[in-house]
């Protein structure tokens, strides 16, 4: 059984388009995250949600909008895609927002390529 799943795994699109990436976890966790991994493999937090409430919103363009319909899902919608948005996006989840004493489990990643 897949613990954290993301769809799609690959996404190729044109500049200016709007796209969404979906994430689902079946671990019963309360907290979910979106990370971005750039071309140099550096990972950085974008957002975190705890029980559907936004907790972290790092310096991310407002073209990125996370949406959490329920505890098990955290989707990422991106408007007006730009070339610089090309990256791998990882969803993750953890039991709670205890943060410093929590293990995060990652999805398989979504490779986004903007042409």
């Amino acid at each position: 059984d897949t613990a954290v799943s993301q769809t799609p795994k690959y996404l190729v699109t044109q500049m200016g388009n709007d796209k969404s990436i979906k994430c689902e976890q079946n671990l019963g966790h309360d907290t979910m995250y979106w990370y971005k991994q750039d071309s140099k493999k550096f990972l950085k937090i974008m957002f975190s949600y705890n029980n559907k409430e936004l907790i972290i919103n790092e310096t991310v363009p407002n073209r990125f909008s996370p949406k959490s319909p329920d505890k098990a899902h955290l989707n990422l919608h991106i408007n007006s895609l730009e070339l610089g948005d090309s990256a791998v996006y990882f969803c993750a989840s953890s039991q709670s927002l205890a943060g410093v004493q929590e293990t995060q489990y990652f999805g398989p990643g979504t490779r986004l390529l903007v042409l």
Binding site: T31, Y33, Y35, K40, K41, F42, L43, K44, I45, S48, N50, I55, I56, V88, F90, A92, S94, L97, A98, G99, V100, Q101, E102, T103, Q104, Y105, F106, P108, G109, R111
Partner: protein
């Protein structure tokens, strides 16, 4: 600012040999976990090992072990009896203040047959 430093962008090890990946971190927390994650070419982020900072005993998971020096904020990963499947990017990870994870820039490990 909370940082994680991996000073070795690339490392190479002969199959069956031992290799150590170094990491230093900075946190203001007192009780926390530290992690090593592995990212093979498949891109999946895989948890390798976890260390609880309040435990003095170094964590061990089969061929993987850590050398955790809390005062020095050092957290190195030792891989014994290296296998071809160990080839991957390894990330040292410490907790952020808001529940997120802070990733190092990674060490790319190659394993030579």
């Amino acid at each position: 600012a909370q940082t994680v430093t991996q000073s070795q962008p690339e490392m190479s090890v002969q199959e069956a040999e031992t290799v150590t990946l170094s990491c230093t971190y900075d946190t203001s927390e007192s009780d926390y976990y530290l992690f090593w994650y592995k990212q093979p070419p498949s891109r999946q982020m895989i948890l390798v090992i976890r260390q609880e900072a309040y435990k003095q005993q170094n964590a061990t998971e089969n061929r993987f072990s850590v050398n955790f020096q809390k005062a020095a904020k050092s957290f190195s990963l030792k891989i014994s009896d290296s296998q071809l499947g160990d080839a991957a990017m390894y990330f040292c990870v410490s907790p952020g203040s808001q529940g997120n994870l802070i990733f190092g820039k990674g060490t790319k490990l190659s394993v030579k047959p």
